[in-house]
Symmetry: C2
Subunit: 380 residues, 2 copies
């Protein structure tokens, strides 16, 4: 039996529940064709009932042909259109027994997915949002869109929809990542929104065409929203909101984890406030602050400056002179300095020092500990 | 010329602008009587024009007598009614060229100030508050009052008044710290509120009886609000709100610095959000979370348990069994653990671990760094 990589991956998507860690590990270990050869002949894998398919190549080709006929294309790891940020999922571990790089993505929409997802921020939150949350998510979407940042979300009611609509309203790009098949309209009421996303961005899913949205697929889907993004922003979330899973994936993937506060009298913001209290997310209040958080230490600059000139660009190249001065004045040890002390060192006004510190902290260059401001510890 | 300590301090209050660092330093160095002898004979001190008073003792006695006649008493450092927390101001430095332990406090109200201020939280914020802010401040005041915590604030319009009213409404104690004389009704519209504060708590000031409220006295006054308190909670504050000075004093005095978030669309919360973003305040959403922040590591327990039994009580004595288990599982080094890992170590559910971590962090026993949860570094 011979099967090529793309067809093997299509077979996996159509036959196996998405994001099973054991299957993802097998694919990573032996490659998709050999994994399919093993699995289609009944090889047992933890969590998976044996599967038998005498001709997986024919099955895979049929899936690809059917999907193509309904306007979906199949984008696989390593291909030019593949969003390479998703490869980070290979080493991010599991959550709710789901994890790993997807075998591929079913994509609807004209725009090139790799180009569309060059600068992406996830804006997620409660389905049962308030009008405050919808306003904030819409403003964030529009502000990010104005800045050329693509907004990824889950096309659910509430915050997701408000974020998509916000960025679409300013002509920006957006990606809707579904828990069901990319060809399934869910929720039903979002047929128009999904069509709008398709024409101005993309609707994607790792689940098989026609797949129904299930609870476990929502949890698996959330890792893709975080995986595609440089930052995850939660706008409203109650204590047990699924969007906190997306935030958790952001943490596992070392994405910037951000939360928008709301009235403490609002149930819809309790989960965000808890995440902020536990320092699992940084507080942001607008799109500019989200953008400030987009360039973590060691990462390539988000605006593509690094692609031009003398090869690798350091993150410090993007700092303004004041930020550089404050950065240079920061101590490296545990004993930090107050903004006032840094003001004395740099001879900059305290307000300017504070502003620079906020910006440096958002870039993970400065950290504020119990003993004051210091250089952020380098990540492993 | 002979003058006793109380009379000398009354003279200082009546003659010298409050909170001048050079005068406070002189008093700390030579004592109030010698300081008065020097100052009343024209001794020059930075920031102070020379003063001449041939009989400061007579002046001081007259001030005390007049104040007594209008229902004020003079409470001095070292006296039984003195709130000893204010002594921390001796080493807290200056802000806006104001600082130091006050010479004494003019007090209106029947209740003993030391008893009243045993457990105090400052609730401060914008004069131009929103109805959301007023509601939250009122709820905080009531929640703290219900728990037997006294609320200190500045009796200004807006958040201050809402906090006073909240605690008064549940029959709790409150202290209004004024920038003008304790006998001056300012703002005029708060005559009733100040009378209510007097009958259920205290109205206090370091400024001379009859003194007018000036900008510099407001700034000096804010250090007393923080100094009296174990925690400073800012409910609403715009970018340049004076309540951020109170928060800054809280920081200088190592008080718990707390902020209540609000809608990001509200101008009235911008200063609080900035303080939270800069980690100058911890996010709190209700009175219970404020109370959780009241017992910093090494401090005496706030509920007085430490007064009974085997002498000094450790802060860990007040933890519940789960919190103790999580505390014991926390690593001491820089490399921390996730809540999930701690859950595996302790065999407690992740949600219980998270809850315990929040509580431990509020007590400054646990800290969350870029590499996970660990034991909080001990304060110097």
């Amino acid at each position: 039996m011979s099967i090529d990589d793309r067809t093997a991956r299509a077979w996996l998507s159509a036959t196996i529940e998405p994001a099973m860690p054991a299957v993802a590990a097998l694919v990573a270990q032996v490659g998709a064709p050999d994994a399919v050869r093993a699995l289609s002949s009944g090889r047992s894998v933890p969590g998976l009932r044996p599967v038998y398919d005498a001709d997986p190549s024919a099955t895979g080709r049929a899936v690809l042909s059917d999907a193509g006929a309904t306007g979906m294309r199949w984008v696989c790891p390593g291909e030019p259109e593949w969003p390479t940020a998703l490869d980070d999922l290979a080493s991010a571990g599991d959550l709710h027994r789901r994890g790993g790089v997807p075998y591929g993505l079913w994509v609807r929409g004209e725009r090139d997915l790799a180009t569309l997802t060059k600068q992406v921020v996830a804006v997620v939150g409660a389905r049962a949002s308030t009008s405050y949350g919808d306003d904030v998510a819409g403003d964030l979407g529009a502000g990010l869109g104005d800045a050329g940042v693509c907004v990824v979300s889950g096309a659910a009611y509430g915050i997701d929809a408000a974020a998509h609509r916000g960025v679409l309203a300013v002509g920006g790009g957006t990606v809707a990542v579904l828990a069901c098949g990319a060809d399934v309209v869910y929720p039903r009421g979002h047929e128009g929104l999904l069509a709008w996303c398709t024409s101005n961005g993309a609707v994607v899913s790792e689940a098989a065409p026609g797949a129904a949205p299930t609870k476990i697929r929502f949890l698996a889907r959330n890792r893709l929203i975080a995986g595609l993004s440089r930052a995850v922003v939660v706008v409203e979330a109650s204590w047990r909101s699924g969007s906190l899973t997306t935030l958790k994936w952001g943490e596992l993937l070392s994405r910037a984890c951000l939360g928008v506060p709301g009235p403490v009298t609002s149930e819809a913001s309790t989960g965000v406030h808890l995440a902020l209290r536990e320092h699992r997310a940084e507080l942001v209040t607008n799109a500019a602050e989200v953008r400030d958080a987009l360039a973590p230490l060691g990462a390539a600059p988000v605006d593509g400056v690094g692609a031009v000139g003398l090869g690798r660009t350091r993150v410090t190249d993007r700092l303004d002179p004041r930020e550089l001065e404050v950065l240079e004045a920061l101590p490296a040890g545990a004993a930090g300095l107050t903004a006032e002390q840094l003001s004395a060192r740099t001879r900059l006004p305290v307000a300017a020092v504070r502003h620079s510190l906020t910006s440096l902290a958002a870039r993970s260059l400065a950290a504020c500990g119990p003993q004051g401001w210091r250089l952020a510890p380098r990540r492993a």
